[in-house]
């Protein structure tokens, strides 16, 4: 288990290294350069050269890469060529907003999907099970931004229960913070719950066919007792994997929800950086997002054998 964890950690570090080279290459080497992009196509060559010299862009790419990487490792994402400001505080602040949003959404979707999916599997041949499956199939097709718009129309514009946009830090007022969080979190969670319900349902169906469930049933346990005592832990494995993938997807997918609800998350910062042609900020934010996705994958890879001893022993 320990060797497995170490080998996964090494893989993680290598992936991060390759990804950082890819991001750097894409941003710094391809068409034109950051200074040209920041100043626009009409900039004079002199102005571009001056900005390049100011930020050391005239140095060889390899040096710039190590400078950038070294900065990030010490928690410094660099200075924007567009605003001239340090972008580290912006990234740190906005990541927190997105993290709150995404973790709350995943937690809510698990709370919805696990009971619903289990129920749909147990009542598979029943109209309830079929209905749950059909609803989750339709739910998967609804983009989260459409869910958000529908929720805003109903609960904000019509009923007036929740604000339609805005953000309040928890220290400014916890009630206001929660109130503004409800609609964005629910819009993200509903669609994810629909996806997760299908996985939970099929994981439970798979488990119910296992020999150890049949043994438990032969021993005299009821179907649901057998499932709860022996089955759920086994059904959890594919569900953990999928929830990890969803968490990673939502980190970026939340960008649209952040825009709709005007939340100062990392996605909003990314879109703003793209609009401002602030390549240093784009580069830094992309790297943070990729880092988070890789960390989530690492955690999932280590968590799965902990939950399932069979995989642990095989590894």
């Amino acid at each position: 288990m320990l060797t497995y964890a170490i080998s996964r950690a090494i893989q993680f570090a290598l992936s991060l290294l390759v990804a950082s080279v890819a991001v750097f290459a894409l941003m710094s080497l391809l068409p034109g350069n950051a200074a040209q992009v920041a100043l626009g196509t009409n900039a004079t060559p002199e102005a571009v050269a001056a900005l390049e010299a100011q930020y050391g862009l005239d140095r060889p790419p390899l040096i710039r890469y190590f400078d950038w990487m070294g900065g990030m490792l010490t928690g410094d994402f660099g200075t924007s060529y567009v605003t001239g400001a340090d972008i580290t505080p912006v990234i740190v602040g906005s990541v927190q907003v997105t993290a709150i949003l995404v973790i709350a959404a995943i937690a809510l979707s698990i709370l919805i999907a696990v009971p619903l999916g289990t129920f749909a599997a147990l009542e598979q041949r029943n109209w309830i099970g079929v209905t749950i499956s059909a609803i989750s199939q339709v739910g998967i097709a609804i983009p989260n931004f459409l869910a958000a718009i529908i929720l805003v129309i109903i609960f904000s514009l019509t009923l007036g229960w929740f604000p339609s946009q805005g953000w309040m830090a928890p220290i400014e007022g916890f009630g206001g913070f929660l109130l503004r969080l409800v609609l964005p979190v629910v819009s993200l969670a509903l669609v994810q719950a629909a996806i997760l319900t299908r996985y939970v349902r099929s994981a439970v169906l798979d488990v119910m066919r296992e020999d150890f469930i049949r043994t438990a049933r032969a021993k005299g346990l009821t179907r649901s007792k057998a499932l709860f005592v022996h089955g759920l832990r086994n059904a959890a494995i594919p569900v953990i994997t999928v929830a990890g993938v969803q968490l990673a997807t939502l980190l970026v997918g939340a960008v649209i929800i952040e825009q709709i609800f005007v939340l100062p998350g990392i996605g909003s910062e990314l879109v703003r950086a793209v609009a401002n042609r602030d390549l240093v900020a784009v580069q830094g934010i992309v790297m943070v997002l990729v880092l988070l996705v890789l960390i989530i994958n690492l955690i999932v890879d280590i968590l799965v054998p902990i939950v399932d001893p069979r995989i642990r022993n095989a590894a």
Binding site: P31, I149, A248, V255, V274
Partner: protein, 305 residues
């Protein structure tokens, strides 16, 4: 927002080794229904796009200040937008971009991902080539750390925002899914007796790949294509919603939805129609994929929608 962006095992793939039992009659019937509904929705969307080339109720760019922000009526069944443009016309013309992005993105992913997966599987079967397979699959995993939306935003930052970069980015992001499906399918085929027989009779690797592997994994690849199509519809809509995809004045469902936001309190139906059609397109390709999966892989037990 992506149903299955990473090519991680879908419900139908998980644990199939443990439960390869004969399909139940009932399950078979139900999945047939999902294929029919899915195909019907896909035909509807494709039909809208095709018809829009020869006929639309109005000129998509004709502005009519008198008829602005109307609700549904006989003249404008879906109403009109803030410039008095006919929403039904825009929905029809918008279907073109949705399908174009899907076809190009899935085409890129399929044409690059499938050969990569097949090649990786061939190397995986050789003791001297296993490391090549490992490197290919690691690279695949790293690409997975860039979700379609993120890659598309990067492309919009480096190049200018537009339909072209969006299609390419979504396509690249979908490559790992195809590579994984093709690799696991190829590994199965390579373990079969007829491939061993072909090897023994000295057929060369490219011949085996074309004659034995490709026809056998085609079904799985088509299923993946259908799922990837649904993902690309979502990604295009999302990008255009953010203003990083299809640019004005080309009609696109995502941008219609974005433009409707200002009028949510007074004209919510402006958001309704593009939203409904995005959902129908995604539902259609997802259902079609589900139905095809059960058809192409009889070993798998049909579990319904």
């Amino acid at each position: 927002m992506n149903p299955n962006p990473t090519g991680a095992p879908t419900p139908h793939e998980t644990g199939t080794t443990a439960s390869a039992k004969p399909r139940s009659r009932k399950g078979g019937r139900r999945t047939n229904a999902s294929m029919i509904i899915g195909a019907a929705l896909v035909v509807l969307i494709v039909g809208l796009a095709l018809v829009s080339f020869v006929w639309t109720p109005y000129d998509p760019n004709s502005i009519d200040p008198v008829a602005r922000l109307q609700s549904g009526s006989l003249a404008h069944p879906f109403g009109t937008d803030t410039f008095g443009r006919d929403t039904l016309t825009w929905v029809m013309v918008g279907a073109r971009i949705t399908l174009l992005v899907g076809v190009v993105a899935v085409g890129i992913a399929l044409l690059i991902g499938t050969p990569i997966g097949i090649i990786a599987a061939f190397f995986a079967k050789q003791s001297w080539g296993m490391w090549i397979d490992a490197v290919i699959m690691r690279a695949n995993d790293i690409l997975l750390a860039f979700p379609a939306l993120l890659l598309a935003i990067i492309f919009a930052a480096v190049y200018s925002p537009g339909t072209g970069p969006a299609m390419v980015a979504v396509g690249i992001a979908a490559i790992p899914g195809f590579a994984r499906v093709a690799r696991s399918g190829t590994l199965q085929v390579l373990g079969s007796d007829y491939v061993r027989a072909a090897r023994a009779s000295n057929r060369r690797v490219p011949a085996i790949a074309l004659v034995h592997v490709l026809p056998n994994i085609a079904g799985m690849v088509i299923v993946q294509a259908s799922v990837a199509f649904a993902i690309s519809v979502l990604a295009e809509a999302g990008l255009s919603f953010l203003g990083l995809g299809t640019q004005a004045p080309t009609p696109s469902w995502g941008r219609m939805l974005q433009e409707s936001q200002q009028y949510l309190s007074t004209h919510p139906e402006l958001a309704l129609w593009p939203g409904v059609f995005i959902a129908l397109a995604v539902l259609g390709f997802n259902l079609l994929g589900d139905g095809l999966r059960d058809r192409f892989d009889p070993k798998m037990e049909a579990r319904g929608a």
